[in-house]
Amino acid sequence: MNPFSSGTRLRDMIRAIRACKTAAEERAVVRKECAAIRAAINENDQDYRHRNLAKLMFIHMLGYPTHFGQMECLKLIASAGFPEKRIGYLGLMLLLDERQEVLMLVTNSLKQDLNHSNQYIVGLALCALGNICSAEMARDLAPEVERLLQFRDPNVRKKAALCSIRIIKKVPDLAENFINPASSLLKEKHHGVLITGVQLCMDLCKVSSEALEYVRKKCIEGLVKTLRDIANSPYSPEYDIAGITDPFLHIRLLKLLRILGQGDADASDCMNDILAQVATKTESKKNAGNAILYECVETIMSIEDNGGLRVLAINILGRFLSNRDNNIRYVALNMLMKAIVVDAQAVQRHRATILECVKDSDASIRKRALELVYLLVNESNVKPLTKELIEYLEVSDQEFKGDLTAKICSLVEKFSPEKIWYIDQMLKVLSEAGNFVKDEVWHALIVVISNASDLHGYTVRALYRAFQTSTEQESLVRVAVWCIGEYGDMLVNNVGMLDIEEPITVTESDTVDAVEVAIKRHTLDLTTKAMALIALLKLSSRFPSCSERIKDIIVQNKRSLMLELQQRSIEFNCILQKHQNIRSALLERMPVLDEATFSGRRAGSLHTAISTSTGAPHNLQNGIAKPAAAPIADLLDLSSDDAAAPSSSGGDFLMDLLGVDLSPASAPSGTSQPPKAGTDVLLDLLSIGTSPPAQSSSSASDILSSSQDNKAPLANLNGLASLSSLPANATSPASPVPMMDLLDGLGPIPQKHEENGPAYPSLVAYESSSLRMTFNFSKQPGNPQMTLIQATFTNLSPNVYNDFLFQAAVPKFLQLHLDPASSNTLPASGNGSITQNLKVTNSQQGKEP
């Protein structure tokens, strides 16, 4: 006999492999062994099949492919001897998984082995079946397993029980067959059978509600008694672990009781006593005892309410929280999260300890504690909690910062009692961990800042200071740059100082410095640079003395490789050089960004149809008012005469105007037939108002339509109010939606605007061969909601109008006040005119209709 054909012994192969110094060496040895094994397989070698399979399994554990050995497993299983079957089944479980078809071939062997006289062989088959059977095998062999649940030998019974679990998981329909045998297992004395029987019942109840009912009715008292017996049992050396008899059985019983008691008051009543006993009497010095207590607490919290028990449970958790063992604390935090749903008050009492856990050195504990803290925050404790969390933010490590920042921001937003506190906290977070802050968070901050008009000065000064120290936090830089741009004048002039502030001296050129730093330092970030460019432009309007310098900075970006920056710098440069007359109007203070709309949009309830076409993320949700670059570009490039003021002279104006939807409309207010000359005029006005330039209007309304539901009644009305977009003479219907502004910005306004405080161009509201109506608008500073309109009527026809009466109607959110007209008679041919003042108050000023 060739000595080599017998191959090496298992032990020697393992030694050889371990002796290899490099991976290549190991591969060589493995290859040689595999070759020998393959040869042996081909020769159908009987003698060493056992050993070869063992070798194959070792090679498999090293990670090499061993599929050629799968049939060997089958052959071994089919042999008669116990050792072959043993290794064959082991190989089967290791080398195969349930998805492989080869597995089906074993079904017959399994069936025979399940009926074997040798209980150990039956055991092997049950074990293999329980670990890897597929659904078909389960169905085929279920009757055998069911029968084995009543085998004479407890060893087989317990294995059959666990095997049944897999069967009912794979084929839930078969669950009914197992209900009876399973519940009789519960009456056994043998611990192994009890444990597996209880587990089987648990899975049965999860899978089949019929089983749940049955077990609930028939078995609860028995279970309670068993648990009581085991809890009271004297020392038993076989089952004792850390002074407790069979903690595993305790835990399984508690689990089953939990399933039975959930949702059923009677069942829960049965178990109250034993639960109280276990909760109070179990020793908690060792892990075994704590495991039982943990399970007990889980059960108490899940079953129907019993006040006393719940208090007991939470006390146990409180004790766990102060345990030195990390595992116990982790488990306690877990449980507290579930307990908070049930009894938040009790959990609040442990707040301090939980806060300590946030700072624990163990990452898993920190994470849990943070989630728990988040659930515990309410209005009364938000300030101290946030303070603690922010302090911790400074020392926490990088992986945790992301989570922590997100939670802090979320907390601060939800519960902040006043704006100044919110701004302070957010500034701290941004200074510390701005890079982890998500975009929507700092967007929200900007919205809040813009709404807190009395805090503008304070905010910009605080940001300026913060900016000096933390320039590497991107979000902070962006917010700072935006604020400096907007409120730069407040910064320089120390406007709106609060008592708590110290004065700081910032010159105009300092502010420009700051923004310049933002552009230069953050060489890669497009958003920041883009925002900085706009901020510079704003500053050039607020501080005309720095214009030259600003122009230089902007010009440097003209050749930028990033399209956005290039475009902006060219456009802004254009504005600086050629359009100084409109610059101040263009760059007025932004209107207050509406918070309600913003949060609505954030919640996804509104569909933001247009974000600025420029795609600059900094253009905020309510971005309409911002003079976006692209429309301006169109404006400047397309319009032939530069003198034509773009209508977007500061968003202020547009918003108001559009909000002030002052078209004399008949519609909603249900004016009955006004059989007066004036009203006919009205109707005509309307009809003209709605007639196109339809192309543009439809495009406009398309864009807007998605976000407005009830635009329809208003759509008509806008006709007169808009200064919008379109070419020359027409007054196109612009929807009162701010977003329109983008398109509105496209056309020259028919008339130059007049200097009138915040200047608004006058509008020819209606013109026909017989009548012309002109509206002059003005607003009083400080009262943005009210617009004063001076209407001038000129008679273009050769006839004199007598009893000329102008009436106007407005939609519900506006209030109209008509002053008496200067006269009732309108001389012909433009020889004179009537003026009448209207006051329109927009109750929804600044909001999107």
């Binding site: 399994m57 679990i165 672990i241 595992n327 488990v331």
Partner: protein, 161 residues
């Protein structure tokens, strides 16, 4: 239920791996590699539970080996620690002061013992004594079978001489 049991050495070599849930061969390698990375890098003072891919993994280090068990979210982690200890104690009794080398050269026996403790990812027997008796009984079956085979081949060898 327990989804798999993994024993790895400190260098990341797999000493025992038992799957109770279906994982394809590719998934298995990936899981092992990923989990080894997570567990081997954890510091000594940290708790024994890791959240991983939506499961919980309970691990305990005994000398140079990490015993890991992957469980569902609603399982009792402290109990799994006890099960791991249960297994280690039985191994200890069987091999007599077990060390990693024992598990390397007798990996099949480690598997047999595991099969007496867990089936289908659930605990099978809480008594160490019972497990030891069962294993001993099966070992003796193997011994007798070997002896018989030995004696037959002796006879044949004699006959063919």
């Amino acid at each position: 239920m327990i989804h798999f049991v993994l024993l790895i050495s400190r260098q990341g070599k797999v000493r025992l791996i038992k799957w109770y849930s279906p994982y394809s061969q590719k998934e298995r390698t990936k899981v092992i590699r990923e989990l080894s990375g997570v567990i081997l890098t954890r510091g000594p003072k940290l708790c024994n539970f890791v959240e991983w891919r939506g499961f919980k993994v309970v691990y305990k280090r005994y000398a140079s080996l990490y015993f890991c068990m992957c469980i569902d979210q609603d399982d009792n982690e402290l109990e799994i620690l006890e099960i791991i200890h249960h297994y280690v104690e039985i191994l200890d009794r069987y091999f007599g002061s077990v060390c990693e080398l024992d598990l390397i050269f007798n990996f099949h026996k480690a598997y047999y013992i595991l099969d007496e403790i867990l089936i289908a990812g659930e605990l099978q027997e809480s008594s160490k004594k019972t497990v030891a008796l069962l294993i001993a009984a099966q070992d003796s079956l193997v011994e007798t079978a070997k002896e018989q085979a030995g004696s037959i081949s002796n006879i044949i060898a004699q006959a063919t001489k």
